[in-house]
Symmetry: C2
Subunit: 148 residues, 2 copies
DNA sequence: CAATTCTGGTTGCATGATGCAACCATTCAT
DNA sequence: ATGAATGGTTGCATCATGCAACCAGAATTG
């Protein structure tokens, strides 16, 4: 059943999910952020069906999140690289990672963690803040309709 | 076709998506963060099929993201409220919102924006930072396997 | 109090999404 | 030249989603 479209939705969350909310899309972006570029490498890393991978990559290219570029090894193949639009999904992936780390692993359970490459230290935790840097919860927020 | 399970995945992103990556789940959490509690209000706000809403709410309760509580108006009905685990999805929703605001609306197009209720000002933008507060890109990150 | 409406679901079914496996054309390596 | 690697496409079965109808209990209205 075709998903309901949020393309015309006033809410940016809904529009984001319309673009990257399908099963597998964010995992493809995650892998691309960590350097995967080849069709077969995405397929091997994720273990998804090639027909679905093909469809997802096509959509990510069509949405401007990824682009196809000549292979970096000089061969005749093409690779998939994130655009700036795609790279700016990093906070989404990091937020998902932090929530998952906090709540979806048992103590002592093996997991993949992200570190700052240079310092080998964990990242500072993402916090929702106001303009002055005060940490906010959902209760501190309101929704308004704007046209900027 | 049943989605591949990421329950045993070492990556927290994959585990998060296993829990909240189904179509509609994050929009339900978004609405709950902004105060919706009743089955019919979720259904009206989102416009999704009642059978899917019912299944999603059941899963969110089973995963400990939401709980069923007596209705706040004293009637015999139940409401759905986010747990702390659910409320801590706020940065995920804010990150999705920011990306969507940046890339999925045309200039001048009407949209819903989140403001700090007290100051009426937009939020500070989420940034991926290291422990010292330096802003990082994906190129500055590495993945390691840990057991903490 | 009875009738009607509201609420929170459950059920049946059709369409599209995902998973699996096979197939195929081009490119690369030996 | 041959076989392997690469990047897909295709066919089909199983599940996910959307739609609409149905239903039981609670609440509201006259």
């Amino acid at each position: 059943m075709r998903h309901k479209s949020f393309k015309a939705n006033l809410c940016p969350v809904a529009r984001s999910l319309d673009t990257i909310g399908e099963w597998w899309s964010l995992l493809i972006v995650r892998d691309a952020l960590f350097g995967i570029r080849r069709f077969s490498d995405f397929q091997k890393s994720l273990g998804l069906a090639k027909n679905v991978l093909s469809a997802r990559l096509k959509k990510l290219v069509a949405c401007g999140i990824m682009e196809q570029v000549p292979a970096s090894d000089g061969s005749a193949y093409q690779e998939y690289a994130l655009t700036q639009k795609g790279r700016e999904l990093l906070p989404v992936l990091v937020a998902l990672r932090e929530w998952g780390e906090s709540y979806l692993f048992s103590r002592g359970e093996k997991r993949l963690q992200v570190l700052d490459k240079r310092t080998r230290k964990p990242l500072r935790r993402l916090e929702v803040q106001n303009a002055k840097g005060e940490i906010l919860t959902a209760n501190d927020l309101e929704l308004v309709t704007v046209t900027n």
